[in-house]
């Protein structure tokens, strides 16, 4: 419920005015308004009095986050905290842009489905990359769930909100997380085990699985019980957590005509992607928080998957198999893969629009993982080239053994046999 009238002015902790423009919506913890602040339209989150266990600690944490500044532009990070008023307070952040919807809506309503798998994959990439940076900055998010992401279903662009529980890893704000997204150790912890980076990583895996398979990783046959009581939920998401695709134990497997999203999609996905999910939700990783998949490992498979999503001439997104020519599953024509890029770890499909990212060649820092290194471009004739997307000069060797240099923005013709030295590794054109 709106408690501030339009035109009301509140102040930041430093006395700068914040003018209420309109009310957006309310949630469990507070209300969100459009405000004028510092000459710009911003969002104000205003907490309800009395909902927090320890408001002073919460305020301090929020203030410190605002002072440190946003780790990545994907976060709708607190810009400034307000003064106290009527026993409570709020903070200012950017407004969610037009055309962005909560991930929960994308999952729960057919109106907001992702337009393409490329968009869904891009959303995964943005989310993982943002969390890599957040974690590397020493924070844990604590309450990762489908309500935290505003996503544009056409482009896959992401904004991450609710950053008010973000805290230095190892400290707690009292939050445990949302049911169905909490890591098993939190579910069974009875409030004594608190979220950290490792539990964030479980929730992150669940979010990725939900986006790509439109299914929850633990909601298989067992979830179909007539009534999911709290005691059963504690087993399903906690003490007896079992992946719906567990290869050794099918007692929580998918059921025909019910788990249709999963059954339709699983078979299409490339093995390297499925293997990562099999690992992320293996019993070992589910029950050993320290073994959770690191963000960089997700980035590696997701960029690879992105390059394997190629548009057929009929418009269908075709998932290329083994970086080789693959039959379009809609029109039956071949989507021809003439070339591949030999990366240190695997061969990647080279089609128009394919990109090599920094995390695919050698070790890198969190904030550069998704920097494009090279991009496959095409002339109108279809002839492929490779463009240097960095500001570095790369050394290359031609098939006949001559040395060449590739300056920033330079495009070389895609000739099999060329080897490019980048970041201490070799990329071979095949």
């Amino acid at each position: 419920m709106a408690i501030f009238e339009k035109g009301t002015v509140i102040k930041t902790e430093f006395g700068a005015p914040i003018e209420i423009v309109s009310y957006i919506a309310g949630g469990g913890q507070g209300d969100v308004y459009v405000v004028n602040y510092n000459g710009k339209r911003k969002a104000l989150k205003w907490y309800k009095a009395g909902v927090m266990r320890d408001p002073d600690a919460f305020y301090k944490n929020l203030k410190r986050n605002a002072e440190h500044g946003s780790p990545d532009k994907a976060f709708l990070w607190p810009d400034a905290v307000t003064e106290h008023r009527d026993g409570t307070f709020g903070y200012i952040m950017d407004l969610r842009p037009e055309g962005y919807y909560e991930l929960g809506k994308l999952l729960g309503s057919p109106k907001y489905n992702f337009k393409t798998f490329k968009a869904a994959t891009d959303a995964c990439l943005k989310i993982v990359s943002a969390f890599r940076i957040l974690h590397n900055n020493g924070y844990s998010y604590q309450d990762l769930n489908d309500g935290n992401f505003f996503i544009n279903p056409d482009t896959g662009d992401v904004r991450i909100c609710d950053n008010d529980n973000v805290a230095p890893n190892g400290t707690s704000t009292g939050i445990l997380g949302k049911p169905r997204y909490m890591a098993p150790e939190i579910v069974v912890g009875g409030g004594k085990v608190l979220p950290d980076t490792n539990s964030d990583r479980y929730s992150l895996s669940a979010i990725l699985f939900l986006i790509l398979f439109l299914s929850h990783p633990l909601e298989g046959k067992r979830w179909l019980v007539p009534c999911l009581t709290d005691a059963l939920a504690e087993k399903l998401y906690g003490s007896e957590a079992l992946f719906i695709c567990d290869p050794k134990d099918s007692s929580n497997g998918p059921v025909r005509n019910i788990h249709t999203n999963l059954l339709n999609r699983w078979g299409f996905m490339p093995d390297y992607l499925k293997d990562m999910f099999l690992k992320a939700f293996s019993k070992e990783v589910l029950f050993t928080p320290g073994r959770r998949i690191a963000e960089v490992d997700w980035l590696k498979v997701l960029v690879r998957f992105r390059s394997d999503i190629v548009n057929c001439s009929c418009g269908n997104e075709t998932f290329i198999q083994n970086a080789a020519t693959t039959k379009c599953d809609r029109c039956g024509k071949n989507v021809v893969v003439t070339n591949v890029l030999g990366l240190p770890a695997y061969d990647m499909t080279a089609a128009k629009g394919s990109r090599i990212y920094r995390c695919q060649v050698g070790i890198c820092n969190a904030d550069e993982a998704l920097d494009p290194v090279m991009a496959v471009v095409a002339k109108p004739t279809g002839e492929l080239g490779l463009k240097n997307m960095t500001s570095l000069v790369f050394n290359a060797t031609t098939p006949s053994g001559k040395s060449k240099q590739i300056a920033p923005q330079d495009i070389i013709p895609f000739i099999p046999g060329i080897k490019i030295e980048a970041y201490g590794k070799t990329v071979e054109l095949k």
């Binding site: 469990g28 809506k105 999952l107 109106k111 939050i175 445990l176 087993k235 997104e317």
Partner: protein, 257 residues
């Protein structure tokens, strides 16, 4: 590629209203309940239509001289939920309502679902004292019906004459009873409790809280201003409800162990 269309599969979240329509409810009281229920139509649609957490379904049972379902054919989904005004008159056969619940809270009746249900929410509203042998019915449903026993139950006492001790027994002492003495508050309360019940699964949890009827009520109360008299008594009720037993009614296979 597979289709990008589709939605995540959801369990059904039953929200069941059990409404006193005895003679003492006639006039403004029943009018207020009807107005609140019409408001709930819209509020629940706004809040819960696209929910990824569950699929809301509504049931409504009235009791006066006997008990009658307003949703006769079963629980209705949000798009089919239109409130038909309830009318008041007669005595307060709470026991008859409990017997009806016992009958219909079953997989072979109202709780049939391919994907199964979440724990049901039952919202009682009453302004008086039951006139029938409700205690026997309560003992029976508590013992026989695990849906009822596990449900998150909330009771709204309407006016000063409502017997909150009885309502406490009905919802169990750890659950929630609230009394409202003015009609404006009553209307807000019914809407807020409904909204809060529908959103419980989407709420992040804090250390040491549990998803109970009490929490649904607490969340609702932060939404409602005005003088709401809260009676959340932690004192045990006289006779603790007997432990539920398996009767084979759909529940014996609720577990996979």
């Amino acid at each position: 590629m597979p289709s990008t269309d589709g939605v995540i599969i959801k369990k059904v979240l039953p929200i069941i209203y059990v409404i006193d329509t005895s003679g003492s409810m006639s006039g403004e009281r029943i009018a207020t309940v009807n107005a609140a229920m019409r408001e709930c139509e819209q509020v629940l649609r706004d809040k819960a239509s696209d929910s990824p957490d569950n699929e809301l379904k509504i049931g409504a049972l009235t009791f006066s001289s006997g008990a009658e379902w307003l949703t006769k054919t079963g629980l209705v989904s949000l798009e089919d939920f239109y409130w038909n005004d309830a009318k008041a008159g007669g005595v307060t056969d709470l026991g008859a309502a409990l017997n009806e619940l016992n009958d219909k809270l079953s997989r072979s009746a109202f709780l049939k679902s391919e994907t199964g249900c979440c724990v049901p929410v039952i919202i009682f509203m009453s302004d008086g004292c039951p006139t029938d042998s409700w205690e026997k019915s309560l003992a029976k449903i508590s013992a026989e019906n695990r849906w009822f026993a596990s449900a998150r139950k909330i009771a709204i006492a309407i006016g000063e004459d409502a017997d909150t001790d009885i309502l406490k027994k009905l919802v169990g002492n750890v659950e929630a009873v609230v009394r409202s003495n003015d009609l404006e508050t009553l209307q807000k309360l019914i809407v807020a409790v409904s909204a809060s019940a529908s959103m419980l699964a989407g709420k992040s949890r804090l250390a040491n809280d549990e998803a109970s009827g009490g929490e649904i009520l607490d969340n609702a109360l932060t939404e409602v201003e005005g003088d709401v008299e809260i009676e959340k008594d932690t004192a045990p009720v006289d006779e603790p409800a007997p432990a539920p037993v398996d009767t084979g009614d759909g529940w014996s296979d609720d577990d996979w162990s």
